[in-house]
């Protein structure tokens, strides 16, 4: 009984802390975020008459003279140069069709594949259907994107685990100059690759460590946009390690 009481108290304390944290303002589409000419419209905002309105549901961010909205949700739109983690869905005569959690098809041609492929070789020996592959976006066309694996760190995933988060949370998981992800790497001893499309690959020498890293990433996606998140995640990992 006493133990229950204690945990109860702890949880109320935690909720208090959350209330005290400074939060950026949430805006809904169509909400007026600024009027007059004090600000310039940035990402996910548009000018309508004298006013600037938000065009997406998210957090309002004013930086200098620029006002923008950081989206909280939405699907992944591929951009050139993005590192993504895709799943092979189909094999054609000249490459692989991959699912990268976006509405557009992603194609990885043989010519963009590492290593030498003999004529008439069975492509499923390189990447089979269902394989997860780390790849880079090299072209964005009207009907889909082209991928490549001809670079360092781009390869098939053959161990560890993958998890999917919303692609708008990817910058939070990476942190400023990779501060968040390198901290998790250090604390758990796992190797982590975060694809821009929201697929995360975690590989460690023990499954417990991998699951701990997964838990930490889930914590980030739940509590994104609260101040001092890196410290909080570090505290969480340290408490789990003991």
């Amino acid at each position: 009984m006493e133990k229950d009481k204690q945990t109860m108290e702890e949880s109320t304390e935690n909720s208090k802390i959350i209330v005290e944290e400074k939060k950026r303002e949430l805006v809904v589409p169509g909400e007026i975020v600024s009027s007059g000419s004090a600000f310039l419209p940035g990402e996910n905002t548009q000018k309508e008459g004298d006013e600037i309105i938000a065009t997406r549901f998210g957090l309002l961010d004013k930086e200098g003279r620029l006002v923008k909205v950081i989206p909280l949700s939405g699907i992944y739109l591929p951009r050139m140069g993005n590192i993504v983690i895709g799943k092979v869905e189909d094999i054609t005569f000249n490459g692989w069709l991959m699912n990268i959690n976006s509405p557009y098809k992603a194609f990885l041609p043989i010519s963009e594949c590492q290593g030498f492929i003999r004529k008439g070789e069975d492509l499923s020996t390189i990447f089979a259907i269902g394989d997860m592959v780390i790849a880079q976006v090299i072209a964005v066309k009207a009907k889909g994107v082209d991928l490549t694996t001809r670079d360092r760190g781009l390869h098939k995933i053959d161990n560890g685990l993958t998890m999917t988060i919303n692609s708008s949370k990817v910058p939070r998981v990476i942190g400023k100059q990779g501060s968040m992800v390198s901290m998790i790497k250090q604390e758990t001893g796992c190797n982590i690759v975060v694809g821009q499309n929201g697929v995360v690959w975690i590989r460690g020498d023990e499954i417990e460590k991998e699951l701990l890293a997964k838990e930490a990433i889930n914590l980030i996606t739940e509590k994104s946009f609260t101040d001092g998140l890196t410290d909080k995640v570090q505290a969480f990992l340290e408490s789990k390690r003991k």
Binding site: L26, V28, P29, G30, E31, I32, N44, Q46, E48, I53, T55, R56, F57, G58, P71, L72, S73, G74, I75, L77, P103, Y104, K105, A142, K143, S168, E222
Partner: protein, 233 residues
């Protein structure tokens, strides 16, 4: 004016109790629940996602598809599930009501699906559906310029009554139906009409009054929608 006291004792410009919640379906990209008293609707948004068959694709911008249905247990007599004349019409007008606010030019050749299910019905289900769909689209991160709010206003026995219920829809005097039911949807910031449906008879003066009443009611709906969206994490 022969209709002086409403069946459920509300004031003539008073809506039923409104309840709104966002994120009710975890696997959907966006979802919302909206209720006017006993009229309860849930909406789920999926996408933008690939569109097949290919001939439906628009290379200029993404399209939306709306599917509205009343669940079989939502009314007193079992409703046969699946598309019917009525639900197809409402799907179409809901799509037309939502189209002015969404901007899918960043997602050519895709489709965004909106599924609206009425889980309990007591008149103005299409309005509850539109309100839920508007919130669900916002939560799904679809680029939008506004939110939509809808309400039904009745011209019942000579009186303008906001948010009609089933008994008012069936109001009769001497065996003659004395009611016009007007479903209206507004773009909530710019105050433009995006849906106006009317069955029954009404003169222009009363129609103007009805539109004003709906505008007033929609302002309240806007507040509720904003609050529900901002309470999600």
């Amino acid at each position: 004016m022969t209709y002086t006291k409403r069946f459920d004792g509300r004031k003539f410009d008073e809506m039923r109790e409104i309840e709104a919640k966002v994120g009710v379906i975890p696997r959907a990209d966006g979802s919302a629940y909206f209720a006017f008293g006993d009229t309860k609707a849930i909406a789920a948004v999926y996408g933008p996602r690939p569109l097949h068959p290919v001939f439906l694709q628009n290379p200029e911008k993404g399209i939306i598809r709306v599917y509205y249905d009343m669940l079989s247990f939502s009314v007193n007599e079992r409703k046969k599930p699946g598309p019917a004349r009525r639900s197809m019409e409402i799907s179409y007008v809901t799509k037309k009501a939502l189209e002015p606010i969404i901007n899918l030019s960043a997602f050519p050749n895709t489709v965004t699906d909106v599924f609206i299910n009425v889980i309990q019905a007591n008149a103005s289900t299409r309005c509850a559906g539109i309100n839920a769909a508007s919130m669900a689209l916002a939560q799904a991160g679809i680029p939008m310029t506004d939110l939509v709010g809808a309400v039904s206003v009745g011209f019942v026995g000579g009186a303008i009554a906001t948010d009609v219920i089933k008994e008012e829809e069936d109001y009769e005097e001497d065996g003659e139906k004395m009611v016009s039911d007007i479903a209206m949807a507004f773009l909530l910031r710019s105050q433009k009409l995006s849906l106006l449906q009317l069955d029954g008879k009404i003169d222009s003066e009363n129609l103007k009054k009805a539109i004003e009443a709906a505008k007033k009611a929609c302002a309240k709906i806007y507040e509720v929608q904003k609050k529900a969206l901002k309470e999600t994490k």
